[in-house]
Amino acid sequence: MTATLKASRTKAAWVQEWAEVVAQTGDHDVYKLTLRAPEIARRAVAGQFVEVRPVAGRGSAAVDPLLRRPFSICEIRPDEGIITLIYRVVGRGTAVMASVTAGQELNVMGPLGHSFPDPATGRGMLVLVGGGLGIPPMVAAAARARAEAPDRCVTAILGARHVGFLAGAEELAATGVPAAIMTDDGSAGHQGFVTAPLKELLDAAGAGCEVWACGPEGMLMAVKELCRAAGAPCFVSVERHMACGFGACIGCTVPKSGEPGFWKACQDGPVFLAEEVELGG
């Protein structure tokens, strides 16, 4: 079954598009970027990501920040040619992106990498686990599951340090997928970690669950271990520093589990079958 699930992940041919910034909202910490990128919107599948040049404008010859920045696609609206991204300002690149305003253009490559599995392929309860800025891709995942596997039971567990880091939770709620909210400090939902409700679910449904997770690598390790113990198929979306995002630099490696050698997060992932990757390495 896991092999079938793994095979049901989509990998599309990517394009490079000048995307118009339709809107950018947020405060100085977390931003939501709405982009008109019709070709990417047409091809993208939940779990895939885009690579954004932080500097706006076609004319810009500025070479700093130099590299593109990878972001998971949060919402996909092919009819309108729209995708959205939610990101947190953590360094120089995202700081520059945050200064971009509606009407400007950003150069975007995508959709890149493998999506989450086809929600119609799996069986049993689908559990989406998103931690912090791991929530955005779960929005697309929830929307796809609702649309393409309407009869399947889908539930989300979203966690963050603090209520301020739950960006994407509203968008996820809007898909109709129910979500348990966990915060470290109890500032929203329940106090605690995503692993608590996940463990409850797995204790109850065990191998009857399929789990997709995105978040800090420590959380992914914990989720992977819980799923292994419960015999539930588990997919994790993994982040790595990337120079290219499309397989050319071999910079984004994730050690293979149980054998020597590496996967490329950008091409073989970012969504991996958890048992095939060595996390934290």
């Binding site: 041919a13 490079q16 040049r53 010859a61 070479v63 700093d64 920040p65 130099l66 590299l67 593109r68 120089r92 690149g93 490559m109 790595r240 520093h241 990337m242 120079a243 290219c244 499309f246 397989g247 050319a248 630099c249 071999i250 910079g251 984004c252 490696t253 050690p255 020597p260 050698g261 590496f262 390495g281």
Partner: protein, 343 residues
């Protein structure tokens, strides 16, 4: 239409824009972006006798105007290349130069031998990778080592032999001369500068390997300087690399004396970069009335060192304005105004 072709090592390349080793994989990721046959050549990822697994931990990180990499020369080995990548590349009509890495002289020789008669255009010895102890840097920062590995491969192959030099040395000219004397047909420069980056939150180096190779636009001035120095000191052709993002950057290298250039890091940011560079050179030639790339090579060098024939126009534009006597004002002004970008 301008003549973009360039001749090196007895081969006429369609144009002087090649892709740099390690920045273009074996071409597969780019085949949907543009036809690989449009490139002057592809220098494939550094290839060893056996597969290399590469470094652990974080391998790449951006730096101001550049990036560090510590890939550790992960590569599938020469067998895989010959069985899988090369036939495919050939089908694409690509001109291919194989970048070779080894732990010992014997390993460089072994890869070179395997390529004999394969149909690849040339081999390029990477004696300058800063990221693995065995990646040749030992050869690249020792004159004796550099000469030795060059001479050994020279004996082992009839293919044109390029040697890629490390910039992490006090005197690049000595190295260029050493490999020229040892039988190299061309020198490629530069490989990456050795650098590092610190994660101040985690209080440790960012790269798993501690140090990495610095590439990208920030290193261009160092690369240009070395190309200039070497092109004035050796008779074999020089291939320039380092921070080329645009046609204008490439023209700087050509004018400094490079017979061809390689585009590396730029391919990550803009997969079409090599094509944009080709078009940029062509546009510059059209705009300034230069008909052959050869006429750009060395054009910024003092006359003695310049190769090819500089078109008169270009020469004039480069001339320092002489003092102007009032009577000659009009003509002199006409010239100065041409010189000035902003008039």
């Amino acid at each position: 239409m301008a003549d973009l072709s360039t001749e090196l090592c007895g081969i006429r390349f369609k144009n002087p824009v090649w892709t740099a080793s390690g920045c273009f994989g074996y071409g597969r990721e780019f085949a949907d972006v543009f036809p690989l046959s449009e490139l002057g050549a592809i220098c494939v990822k550094g290839t060893a006798p056996e597969p290399w697994v590469g470094n652990k931990g974080t391998r790449v990180v951006e730096t101001p105007g550049g990036m560090l990499n510590a890939i550790g020369l992960q590569n599938p080995g020469i067998d895989y290349f010959l069985n899988v990548d090369w036939p495919w590349l050939r089908e694409q009509g690509a001109t291919v130069i194989v970048n070779i890495v080894g732990r010992t002289v014997a390993e460089y020789v072994a890869v070179a031998r395997r390529l004999e008669g394969s149909g690849v255009a040339a081999v390029e010895l990477n004696i300058s990778c800063p990221n693995v102890k065995e990646g040749g840097l030992a050869f690249g920062t020792s004159l004796k080592g550099a000469a030795e590995v060059t001479a050994a491969v020279r004996k082992a192959t009839s293919l044109p032999l390029m040697v890629k030099l490390s910039p992490n040395v006090t005197n690049i000219v000595d190295f260029a001369k050493a490999v020229e004397d040892a039988g190299a047909d061309a020198v490629t420069l530069i490989n990456t500068l050795l650098g590092m980056s610190v994660d101040i939150r985690k209080r440790k180096p960012v790269l798993g390997n501690l140090f990495g190779g610095l590439s990208g636009p920030g290193v261009k001035p160092v690369a240009l300087r070395m190309v200039w120095q070497v092109a004035g000191a050796v008779k074999i052709p020089v291939v320039g690399i380092g921070g080329i993002m645009t046609g204008a950057d490439a023209v700087e290298f050509l004018m400094a004396g490079a017979r061809a250039v390689q585009v590396g890091t730029a391919c990550f940011v803009n997969p079409r970069a090599p094509i944009d560079v080709i078009n940029g050179i062509a546009a510059f030639m059209a705009e300034t009335g230069v008909s052959r790339v050869a006429d750009l090579v060395g054009a910024a060098r003092p006359a003695a060192g310049a190769e090819g024939n500089l078109p008169a126009l270009g020469r004039e534009a480069g001339t320092k304005p002489a003092k102007v006597a009032t009577g000659e004002t009009a003509d002199a002004l006409r010239q100065f105004m041409k010189d000035s970008d902003r008039f």
